[in-house]
Symmetry: D3
Subunit: 256 residues, 6 copies
């Protein structure tokens, strides 16, 4: 569909790590990394590593009480030395920055999109995504890993009797990937070195069924044309389909 | 491309204010509303009213000094009683919420996308968008109005000799509109009553030339299909083309 | 009345805008400026513009519950570009400055002075005064406009049945004006250019009946004598009497 | 002048501590209470005790540099158990309340009114007024005591050669007292039990020469008439004249 | 007792104030210094002066309710000019520093160690220790003085009937002292000039029976040997025994 | 020395994990866990896991400039789900708690005790210790792991030429362990279940040479006797000697 668009007409330069334009970085998922959380996973997209935990508690915030429905929220943060240069802790600054807020909200919305809140009942799940190493794509890795932590916390809740075994709390799986236009060519899953020089940068959140939960595209350099947008969406749909397979495998092994 | 998609196949329900699906609310732009700012505009999208000011100052933040390039940033806020129920001031809470952060960053990125920072020289422009009345679409009205304030501040800067008359600081115009799927049908420029029941909500920022600066789509209810996404983008491109005309008229009159 | 006081013995210099010493700047009151608030008014004292809203809600803070009495409080703020140079938002600073605190408290006390809290019943009114343009006298314009917003919110509350029609919640009207000694002469309603060079600056809050609610006089330069204080009070009483008429007219038209 | 006003026509009720209406509480001033500060005084108005220190440092804030002029500022605070019920520390709350801000600013303005900033030269004095026991009149005691601390810090600065011996930095002395209308009668120097039931409450700051620096009158209950205001000012002028004598004595002894 | 430890083998240099190595500075305790608090004491260790108050209130924090047990907590702070150079107020900074937190927690733990919380019943005591003058040892003076304030507040509570007369709320007395190695020699009760050059600094909290509540030793310069630690503990035990006597005397006089 | 003390006379109850009283939990050290930091280690004391990074930067804070000496500081934090119940992020609370402050300061002091700041030169090292899983002893694991991160960062600095190869920046190694009295018996390296019921809790920081850097003992229940203190110190010295061996092994392997 995208072969005749100008953006892809040129032969793309080789990527720094030698990947094809539509190739993911190596993905590793370690469910149960945290010993305390009801559900958890360490997820790696190349050198990016995010520790995702899901904390399940009975009850909901006061303003939701008595409605028979649950609550899922998320918080994202980076360890100070996840990045190449140390960044100041937000706890020390005394306030949370705009980027952190934005990503926390994105993760929360993405996971809520695949949850049946009525089936969850009056229970709360808090997803914490802490970036141990950042090399691009931390928010997409966080969403993809948070899904595993969430699924495992629900497994736990079923076992403990907090949620009925036949309650279909998860309506679908969800994963996310970044795409962008680098040196004029659309590429999938950008590491930091590509991210900083991307003209356009897009994060796409997709369900296991292939529908969109979030599309967030930003022109970092020049505005982008409709054909470029289409090419990026194609790449993202392909990438998230493969992530959905990896999630399914990880859960199968964890439940074995 | 979208004619056979189920989303648009059904006859859409009448909109609460009787508009066609692809019709904007009445748009009014009052350049020069503020007496103190170098550039300003009061912009109205229906009942939504945003006061946009552009403050021009010589010099740039320390970390940019000596690079011969300018800086443009934006801050968005709502008056406490812009909404139907009074909301607490963020100054009283002592911190800025995630939504405010997110929108401020979006406005800043959108305006920077049409600015040639080298042509601006070592000057700083701060855009303030304060919502006086909120009835949906405050962030898109803010972007559209901030462009007018920005353009007028640049007119002022040229007159004052801070920027050369032939410096093409503005590479293009920029405007924004919301689109969404309400009762299964894609519609343009959602007021609050539609916004709260939209299954999918998207904000699209487009240049005068019709290229994309930002695409932010969120599934509030069910995830959305590619055909729905395409239909929404079509609507947004049509709406922003008309906004670009209104911006051009407003500037022509202000400069007369 | 003040002819024999030493302060006015000298022939006063012409005022920058040509007004007489005891003349108000043009006053405009636009009740109902905000579409969402129960009561509102945009008030202009010359170039100073303040948007005042009154938010009426049933119930009172917890510490007042069960006493059958209401609560009225006020918050004052300036938009960042209300002034000649942009000032940083207090929400961004993370704290409210002393001046803002001081004025918010003054507005609250001034309005409470004319309210019968028992007649109000267990209801709360929050007055928000946001300065759109600042050219001296913002606090006095805020008090004068807040009275209109308050009166209109009470009209609404009576219509809605939250307050009995015969409850005399408002015991009187209230307005405020600044007076000061500039170049040795007492003058009324100082714009910014006079305010910065005033030796003595006083804000006076007066009821419709002509009694004092607040008298706040400050020697900015040299301490002031009793005769000067008397001359300033005379000016203020005259100015607020005219403001009370303007308030009455604005309410009459709004209620028509 | 006030003999025929209704407010004083009635025979005033006896005051709780048996004082005459125009009588001060016992005043004690202990200069040099703090061992570390360049100037200090513990001041007592009855049971109210305030520790005032003046910290002298060479240099001024950056925005004042090179102008040959000094800077004086003040901070007021209450120990948590200065009051009958313990109040939370503002450091623990993480922000300073409106009342604290207001009083700190009042103290600063009052002291600056008697200082010749050019004579002070590029030096800074910070006045700290910490209330050890609060029984009404803490802000007026603070101003009266801060003058002593300030005068002693200037004595030190002269001795150390930071200020020339013949520089008349202090143009006058300054003191303050509260007055109010209690049970219909004007009274001087209100302790807490009178303060809470005062209909009108006024704080008056007066120079040694008897001119006004600040007049802050507030109707706590009913608005007040001009004649009442006059009676209160008379009382305050009498009270501050006696305070000025006490200040002079305290300084004479401290310098002996 | 310590004569054969290597640390004391060398002849110690004379101390700046001529004291013997195991000698306390003059200790003065003024119970009842504050007029408002249920219990209070001004305590002086040489030039160090700390005002300690104990605020007794019925009831406990929500999370303790219904357990029949009490709550004791402490807050420590320094007046801005307690030190040789003025330090910024933590209320102005908007946050409490690490040192303040650390000392507040130490005082709270120390006092709780001698309290029978069941005997206290559902009552809360807040200890406030505000340093008026700081010359080393402020935390140890605070603990020693807070014990007096606490004991007096309990006397008050017994008199008022909040605590039964035979409830042995205080299981023991508690006091604290600093010890350190200065110029190679262990010394007791270090003033500021010794504190800044101490190689090792230790604060020791000891009950009236001579048992340890807290031992906090820090190598400021070189790490310390076991023998040095032993010598310091010996000094501290001797010093706190004498402080316990002073506490007993002060209470005896206050109760007389 | 301690064999006849009552505290150890009784036969200790078996420990929950079957260890001997003087036995460490399994210790694992993974140097280089973080890919971005100049030095790093993941350290495990049983189920407690702490990620320690050392960030090396040229230059020192302004107040140290030009003195030819370096700066080392530390920050400690816990991930929200390191504990059995999720705790709120300090960045979300907007302030750092007392416990976090206290531990950060302890880690910083402990590491500085083995560093020759002159040999470090004008360079700064920030140690970040983030607890991934908390099961008692997080601060002692943090100190022990931070030493490895620090040593590796110095290796890096030597290789990069920031520090001379023969500069003996590290004067010694340093490690830490907790000891406590549980059920009347002194034990080493307490996991959470023992920690909560310890009567006395002590953290001891010891150099590779066996000298003390910090001794922090607290009576959680009853005050402790000198003999108990001695027994705890003996245990700690034994435990840290074994930790020093593990540190040496880990560094040998990392450098191989």
């Amino acid at each position: 569909m995208t072969e005749q668009t100008p953006a892809t007409a040129q032969t793309p330069a080789a990527r720094p790590d030698g990947r094809a334009a539509d190739e993911l970085r190596p993905v590793h998922i370690t469910p149960g990394f945290s010993k305390q959380a009801e559900g958890s996973a360490l997820i790696e997209f190349g050198n990016t590593r995010v520790l995702c935990t899901a904390s399940f508690t009975e009850g909901v915030p006061r303003w939701l009480k008595g409605q028979g429905t649950g609550w899922v929220t998320a918080e994202y943060a980076m360890l100070p030395r996840a990045t190449n240069e140390r960044s100041q802790r937000e706890s020390v600054k005394g306030k949370i920055g705009g980027r952190t807020h934005e990503i926390s909200r994105l993760i929360g919305r993405s996971l809520r999109a695949v949850i049946d809140m009525d089936a969850l009942g009056e229970n709360t799940i808090v997803l914490d995504c802490d970036v141990l190493d950042a090399d691009g794509g931390t928010r997409t890795a966080a969403i993809t890993g948070a899904y595993i932590a969430l699924a495992r916390a629900l497994d736990w809740a079923v076992e403990q009797g907090h949620v009925r075994r036949d309650a279909a709390v998860l309506k679908d799986s969800v994963s996310a990937i970044s795409v962008g236009i680098v040196d004029g060519a659309p590429v999938l899953d950008l590491p930091y070195v590509e991210d900083v020089k991307a003209e356009t940068d897009m994060n796409v959140v997709v369900t296991g069924s292939g529908d969109f939960v979030e599309v967030q595209g930003t022109a970092e350099g020049a505005p982008f044309r409709r054909a470029e947008l289409d090419a990026l969406l194609d790449l993202a749909v392909g990438g998230t389909a493969r992530l959905a397979q990896r999630q399914a495998e990880a859960l199968r092994q964890a439940r074995a």
